[in-house]
Assembly symmetry: C2
Amino acid sequence: MYRMVEPTVLYLLATGKAQYGYELMEKAHETGLTDSEIDAGAIYRTLSALEENGYVISRWDAGTSGPARHVYEITQAGREHLAEWAVLLRRLGTSMTQFADACDNLR
Amino acid sequence: MYRMVEPTVLYLLATGKAQYGYELMEKAHETGLTDSEIDAGAIYRTLSALEENGYVISRWDAGTSGPARHVYEITQAGREHLAEWAVLLRRLGTSMTQFADACDNLR
DNA sequence: AAGGGTATATGCTATTAACAGATAGCTATG
DNA sequence: CATAGCTATCTGTTAATAGCATATACCCTT
């Protein structure tokens, strides 16, 4: 999990697969970027940072069973930011695969 | 450059493309894992850590022009460690590419 | 002798996530 | 009705990593 929390959160919000912290935490592994569960602290701090930067907006929803939820929605700027992440991650992913190939050719 | 210094150093030592810190710093971008130059401090600290863990061994070489060089050689354990990195990076790389695909399919 | 390139090393800082725990609402169970 | 457990958010602290800066020093050229 190296810097994958932010793109994971943006993606889940963009697809509507999750809307608030606790749900993001449970569904984070669905993106494939992380095998294990993402730490709750990382989720909540990432959401705060995203909101500060205008990539998401939030409201409180007390109309469900259980404690109130801080519900998030991705903004247009957030979608663009996710698209930038996608470009970066594709480049990184390609590099890593090529590096792994080169390592395998060592023996 | 997130956690790529260690595999980059091991790879360059394994292939013989570099033997000491300063040279590693100059040739680090050749692996493709990093576009820019790796920080010198990161290189030297990584080499120390690798030696502590038995992944490389070192000797001083004062027999060249210029200041003495701390020359490193990868060990068998180091090669195995690099192979583990390759497995991990292939998995990460595949995940990132798939994530990027999914993001591109959002629009 | 002065400056520049080679070479190693350490101090400090910023970022990120991991670990841990506090708070609190709601629900089911005994 | 007490209490245990799940849902939910948030913060404090620490560890790992890399970036930036600096110190030291050798050697060669001008």
